[in-house]
Symmetry: C2
């Protein structure tokens, strides 16, 4: 039995809509999603990330920076490198937001069922 405890982020400060905007906006780009995927698997430097994309190093740098300010990845200095690492907690946060929408839907179904049962 698995217990889900992903409502953690909700009992703190209500996540401002700007923060949520930034998270989903950051997820709305295939290159950035790929960076998340790769850095979930293992830490990578920006240049090693940049090698596989058909765009300039600076463009990849910008994508990483977007992900950092959305809280989806961390960047840590190791010598001249910056190692990028995904933050699963933020991903889980986005997941929990979507789950709340699904819950609204379930509540609606429950209410409709209740209406039918009342007949």
């Amino acid at each position: 039995m698995v217990v889900f405890h992903d409502t953690v982020a909700l009992d703190a400060e209500p996540p401002s809509s700007e923060v949520v905007d930034r998270i989903f906006r950051a997820l709305a780009d295939a290159t950035r999603r790929d960076i998340i995927r790769r850095t979930l698997i293992e830490e990578e430097s920006i240049s090693s990330l940049a090698e596989t994309y058909d765009m300039s190093f600076a463009a990849v740098q910008k994508h990483v920076s977007t992900l950092v300010s959305a809280g989806l990845v961390d960047k840590t200095a190791h010598g001249r490198e910056r190692r990028v690492r995904a933050r699963p907690d933020t991903i889980r946060h986005a997941q929990s937001l979507l789950r709340q929408y699904e819950q609204l839907w379930r509540d609606r179904i429950d209410r409709l069922d209740q209406l039918l049962a009342d007949d």
Copy 2:
């Protein structure tokens, strides 16, 4: 009753990254998320939606149109009204994408555990 079909079928096997882009992009706006929330609870016309936002009717129309082309809501004609209704399946789709990322993270943890166990 007329149903508008300018959405993309997301049941298609490989959800092209453009489709995913559009889903997350559509979610990256507080007004649009609120429209989703309200139309998950119950169907609403565009004008009834527009009443509560501090922007023009046309702006709300555009937001709805963005949501439609992301497959996050449906628009159905009832007389002179267009009733907007959220599509929980697309929301669930976005959720499942995030869940896949989380799975990558778990796989990584498992591999690290395995490395430790090998010692």
